[in-house]
């Protein structure tokens, strides 16, 4: 999986591409630990699969951002990924929007 960081004045956007599983979580954790953003937008448009370790990474990012007074916004969720969030009811815990552009409104 590739992770592209895009810096904005108020938030960090991570564009993820590929299979997001336990092998790939360290680079996302590293990026978030390095920049310690208050707000993070995670673009999942090109993510083909998430496992529980990836979900745990997103949950941890959400908790950290909320502690700093910000939040994690998940954007462009493809259908297979959306199903995983619905089955685990993590869709109740996250802010999920359709486009990266919409995320800037949050």
């Amino acid at each position: 999986m590739t992770v592209i960081e895009e810096f904005h004045p108020d938030y960090l956007t991570l564009h993820l591409d590929g299979r997001f599983d336990a092998h790939e979580t360290p680079q996302v954790r590293q990026s978030l630990a390095t920049h310690t953003p208050k707000n993070v937008h995670i673009n999942l448009e090109k993510v083909t699969f998430l496992d529980s370790a990836a979900l745990a990474t997103l949950v941890q990012a959400m908790k950290n951002c909320r502690e700093r007074g910000g939040d994690v916004v998940l954007c462009n969720m493809p259908q297979p990924v959306r199903i995983i969030f619905e089955l685990t009811r993590l869709d109740k815990a996250f802010k999920i929007i359709n486009t990266v552009h919409d995320a800037t409104q949050h």
Partner: protein, 458 residues
């Protein structure tokens, strides 16, 4: 040597005496004396050379014995610190220096420093020596004028040699204050030879250390595996109407999946399946505490409603899960024999499939995120008719997310199709059929823990 020199002097004196008594002319006498003196001087020189050669021979023999001793000690001595100590001792003795040391830097920047005699230089002084090495690639000598000021001790001279052991592991052999002179070519050759021996000895000690660590880890994992197996229920008295078959297979030695059953006299029969995010030892540890929290609430809570039990467990564990960045999905159910019902609550667990004997399979979706995600759950207690022939299938996502070699996932639809095909069989047959189908689909490759619980009303 002393004896030989005395003999040479006696010879000169004897020759002089003979000449004084028997010679006819002073010229002849002087010539004879000169010859005798020259012979005596030549003999003395030869004796000196012989003495040096004998000493060299003794030294060489000593060095060979010492190197042999180093090799032998390497085989006998597996401890890394002892190996470094022995290398420093031998270097000090063979190189004839006031102090010898061996320093070892590890990939994690851990430094081991052993010197003989202990305390000759302190750590700061040693750091000064190593800083100097930045300009020298493999071996270098200390400038005594510079270092006397830094060390505050009398450093006459010093020789250092750096040598690699393996990737990320580097060592320095150092010798300070050569007795009787400077470090000459034979000393440096000997130091190189000692460094070569030291490299192989240290490598052996590191290998032994690695193997020991690996063996210790394997033992601990085996112990964890046994403890986890002990935590899973072996036999539980089931309600008469219930057939239950369950199996959990971790992807590694231990895993984060768990299941449990509780049959207490004053409580409804309870069963639950959980899945801690991640795999391995960390997941296994959290699996144990999650199971304990649920068990405790099931046993002691005043009104053991499924949603209340999971909410209390979440309350207990939220902080711990947050600290370690993990969560756990849990499906918790109770069978009520009087009303032939299952009551359940579901925190993020999937898939759970209910198949009534007279209807189509239904997916029982969670209504709350997993335990540990938020400080409160949103789950409710749901009721389900559970009559003769009804089947409930609860698995971990290690089954529906099992992948074929082409990347395709097994999926929930295949599980539903299998349940429709096998639901009239016993719980164990359904369980085994599902596991076999998943195993066949993924060609035996298991990336995640797999747990199957089948409950059937008989």
């Amino acid at each position: 040597m002393t004896l030989l020199n005395t003999n040479a002097a006696t010879l000169v004196a004897a020759a002089t005496n003979v000449d004084l008594t028997s010679a006819g002319s002073s010229a002849e006498m002087k010539s004879t004396v000169d010859t005798a003196t020259q012979v005596a001087a030549a003999m003395a020189q030869l004796e000196l050379e012989l003495d040096d050669m004998a000493q060299d021979l003794i030294d060489s023999q000593d060095q060979l014995l010492a190197l042999y001793e180093m090799n032998r000690s390497t085989r006998l001595n597996a401890d890394l610190h002892d190996t470094l100590q022995m290398m420093a001792q031998q270097a000090q003795r063979l190189l004839r220096v006031d102090c010898a040391f061996v320093a070892l830097t590890m990939p994690d920047h851990d430094l081991q420093f052993v010197q003989v005699p202990d305390g000759f230089v302190d750590f700061e002084q040693f750091t000064c020596i190593c800083d100097e090495s930045n300009n020298a690639t493999q071996e270098w000598q200390l400038d005594p004028e510079t270092h006397n000021a830094i060390f505050g001790i009398a450093i006459k001279n010093g020789y250092m040699r750096r040598f690699g052991i393996r990737a990320g592991v580097c060592a320095i052999l150092g010798a300070l204050n050569k007795k009787n002179g400077a470090f000459r070519s034979p000393d440096i050759k000997l130091a190189r030879s000692i460094a070569d021996r030291a490299a192989s000895s240290i490598e052996t000690a590191l290998l032994v250390q690695d193997n020991l660590s690996q063996a210790r880890l394997q033992t601990e994992i085996a112990l964890a595996q046994r403890i986890q197996a002990e935590l899973l229920p072996k036999s539980t008295i089931l309600p008469d109407q219930i057939q239950l078959s369950v199996l959990s297979v971790p992807a590694r030695e231990v895993g984060g999946d768990f299941y449990d059953m509780q049959a207490l006299p004053d409580r409804p029969f309870a069963f639950y399946v959980g899945d801690v995010s991640g795999k391995g030892l960390s997941a296994a540890m959290l699996m144990a505490v999650t199971r304990t929290a649920i068990r405790t609430h099931h046993r002691y809570i005043y009104d053991p409603q499924p949603a209340t039990i999971l909410d209390r467990a979440n309350y207990d564990l939220y902080g711990d899960f947050t600290d370690v960045g993990m969560f756990a999905t849990v499906f918790y159910g109770q069978y009520l024999p009087l009303s032939n019902e299952i009551v359940y609550a579901n925190c993020g667990h999937s898939p759970v499939i209910y198949m009534p004997h007279d209807g189509e399979p239904q997916l029982l979706e969670a209504d709350s995120p997993p335990i540990g995600v938020m400080d409160t759950t949103f789950c409710s207690t749901h009721r389900l008719r559970f009559a003769l022939g009804d089947v409930l299938l609860v698995t971990s996502d290690g089954l529906n997310e099992a992948g074929a070699p082409n990347g395709e996932l097994f999926g929930i639809e295949r599980m539903i199709a299998l349940l429709k095909q096998y639901h009239s069989n016993s719980a164990q047959v359904i369980r085994d059929a599902l596991l076999a189908a998943v195993n066949d689909f993924s060609k035996g490759v298991r990336h995640d823990d797999q747990t199957v619980l089948v409950l059937k009303h008989i």
